[in-house]
């Protein structure tokens, strides 16, 4: 099946060349970072994680959302998802590759990466995060590939794949829970020290991931001969609607605890993000935009559920994706590290090389996604013909 990822139309080659260019630029920027050190990024002594780890956090959620297709299809035999479950699994693979690449470029000593396995430390959440992410990657690769191959050959999937599918369901929940535990167990970081971190992560993941899937499914229907099915898309829309409402509800639970208790070490981070602190307010417009887009998305999606309309749905999905990306991709790190445990405010703004590296990694993800989707869709088209 792999050959289907290599041969394609002119548009396909142009798209892959464009992505290849972005990857090359990103790699050049990474060599620059590797040579001069991570000081080429905007990170600092006080804000010691930035764009890279934020993208890891956000993308783990997108990867985990494959379970929103797998669970209804395999556990509840929801037939409408039968055609697109592969799109979920094949979305998880590139996002996990991006996650691990983001961890790699964040390391000060990337050549020592395997020390994580040479000196395994079960007490460290990072150790478990690496295990969980790699495990989920392998699960999706095996499940996605084998089921697609069987579909192509017109045979039933082998029996041994079933247990793997069942394992992948709680595993999806685990990858985002473990990622939340990276933050939620650290003393002295008031913004992160909250039990609702993992639930918030999961709810935003199950909003962001399926909304991306909807956009991808509509794109696939428009530009290929494969139709993921209008009912499947509307069911995904319901999932996104519930998830974004729950996500905003969880956010307000956190806001209540923080502001009603009035404990400064928890409040200061929210004040910094939403109102600014000691005259530093770089992220204030972003955070309000995120909150307002999230609320707007709820209105748009609820309307769409009553009056189904795919154009309106796309607007809702873009709003959800943008809102959750700002919340995790910008708010999570800046809110956690500012102010510092000594209550100094050092602001973080990513640098150009840092952004180019991040864009390059997204291009790696898109290249993989394009290749995998092309394989899956070619097989589906073949079967229809």
């Amino acid at each position: 099946m792999l050959e289907k990822a290599i041969f394609g139309s002119k548009k396909f080659y142009a798209w892959m060349t464009f992505l290849g260019l972005l990857i090359t630029i990103g790699m050049a920027a990474y060599l620059y970072q590797l040579y001069h050190g991570l000081g080429t990024t905007g990170m600092s002594r006080d804000v010691s994680w930035g764009l890279y780890i934020a993208q890891l956090t956000f993308l783990v959620g997108v990867a985990a959302s494959a379970v929103m297709l797998v669970l209804p299809y395999y556990l509840h035999h929801y037939k409408d998802f039968g055609r697109i479950v592969i799109l979920g699994e094949f979305l998880a693979i590139p996002t996990l590759i991006m996650c691990m690449t983001f961890v790699l470029v964040d390391l000060g000593k990337p050549f020592r990466l395997l020390n994580i396995f040479r000196y395994p430390t079960p007490g460290s959440v990072l150790f478990w995060d690496v295990v969980a992410l790699n495990g989920y990657l392998i699960l999706n690769l095996v499940i996605g590939w084998i089921t697609l191959q069987c579909e192509r050959q017109g045979t039933a999937p082998p029996q041994w794949i079933r247990p793997l599918i069942y394992v992948s369901i709680p595993w999806a929940v685990s990858i985002h829970t473990v990622t939340a535990f990276l933050y939620a167990g650290l003393p002295g970081r008031g913004y992160w020290l909250t039990a609702i971190m993992a639930p918030r992560f999961l709810s935003s993941a199950f909003a962001a991931g399926p909304s991306l899937l909807i956009i991808l499914a509509l794109f696939v229907r428009r530009f290929t001969n494969f139709d993921p099915g209008a009912r499947a898309i509307q069911t995904l829309a319901k999932i996104v609607t519930y998830a974004i409402i729950i996500n905003i509800f969880f956010f307000f639970l956190e806001v209540f605890t923080v502001f009603y208790s009035q404990i400064p070490s928890h409040m200061l981070h929210f004040q910094y993000l939403f109102f600014g602190l000691h005259g530093h307010a770089t992220y204030v417009p972003f955070m309000w935009a995120s909150l307002l887009m999230g609320l707007a998305a709820v209105v748009v999606l609820l309307y769409q559920n009553v009056h189904p309309n795919e154009k309106v749905l796309v607007v809702g999905c873009v709003l959800v994706f943008a809102a959750t990306w700002i919340d995790k991709g910008l708010g999570m790190m800046n809110g956690g590290f500012v102010p510092s445990p000594l209550e100094h405010v050092t602001e973080y703004v990513p640098t150009v090389p840092e952004i180019l590296i991040a864009v390059g990694i997204y291009a790696i993800g898109l290249t993989t996604l394009t290749a995998l989707y092309k394989i899956a869709i070619s097989v589906k088209e073949e079967l229809r013909a």
Binding site: G108, K109, I116, L186, P341, L342
Partner: protein, 258 residues
């Protein structure tokens, strides 16, 4: 052809074994002697701690910082790279050293007063808990929290975990910013985390920590908490002290007399 290749591999294997095994065997037999320092002279403790008597600290004095940073090859970064600086011991004002226990109507003598802050060598260190490679660890015999610069992968999880901001990362090659190098202590490479080591290298040769020795006013006192006659226990018996963020359960081992 096949024969000669096999012979070559055999030869290569044997010579590698010979070259590799000899030093390993030699070092194994001398393992005990490989510990740094002079075992007879070394200062031995079971629970090292420090007391900082802020009242004795002179406002404009930087002696302890200079002694530590010179002795440990801590680079001085130019002002435009201040956000990337490396600090083992430094000065903070009271409200930053103790943000969670503000004193209402802070006495005049404490306003703007420098408080020495450094690694607390916690009883229950969060940095050690989160490290994915055990590159940072708590030494069992005396409780010092140490770093293995050669094992650290530079993930900076420890920096997120430390509630005292005591850890620094080498964002650049630190050797570029060293005016002079102390050859008795290793320099670091870019990409690893570092912090105060309670002068484990000084204790090993029978010296008190560099900052303690550098202070002309004896504002810094070092000793063993498990020894009732130690200098630190003597002060703790007589004076009320506070520690930074004790409510987090980290068990900090730097005490402040204010």
């Amino acid at each position: 052809m096949e024969g000669s290749r096999r012979d070559f591999l055999k030869l290569a294997g044997l010579s590698a074994l010979g070259l590799g095994a000899a030093p390993v065997l030699a070092s194994a037999s001398k393992a005990a002697a490989q510990t740094f320092g002079d075992d007879a002279k070394a200062l031995k403790g079971t629970h090292w701690a420090m007391v900082v008597d802020v009242s004795k600290c002179q406002d404009d004095c930087q002696d302890c910082i200079a002694a530590c940073h010179e002795g440990h090859n801590v680079p001085t970064l130019p002002p435009e790279k201040k956000r990337n600086e490396i600090k083992w011991i430094w000065h903070e004002e009271f409200e930053n050293a103790f943000p969670e226990q503000p004193i209402a109507y802070l006495p005049e003598k404490l306003k703007g007063k420098p408080f020495e802050v450094l690694c607390n060598h916690c009883d229950n260190p969060p940095c050690v808990r989160v490290c994915p490679t055990k590159a940072t660890f708590k030494r069992e015999e005396d409780g010092i929290v140490l770093m293995d610069f050669h094992r650290c992968i530079g993930c900076r999880f420890c920096m997120a975990a430390c509630p005292y901001g005591s850890r620094s990362f080498n964002w650049f090659d630190p050797r570029l910013y060293l005016a002079k190098t102390n050859s008795a202590f290793p320099t670091r490479a870019k990409g690893v985390v570092e912090k105060c080591n309670f002068c484990s290298e000084q204790l090993a040769i029978g010296n008190l920590p560099l900052c303690v020795r550098a202070c002309k006013n004896e504002a810094l006192v070092f000793g063993d908490l498990n020894d009732p006659n130690s200098a630190v226990r003597k002060i703790l018996r007589e004076r009320a002290t506070i520690r930074r963020k004790p409510e987090l359960g980290t068990g900090p081992n730097v005490f402040y007399v204010i």
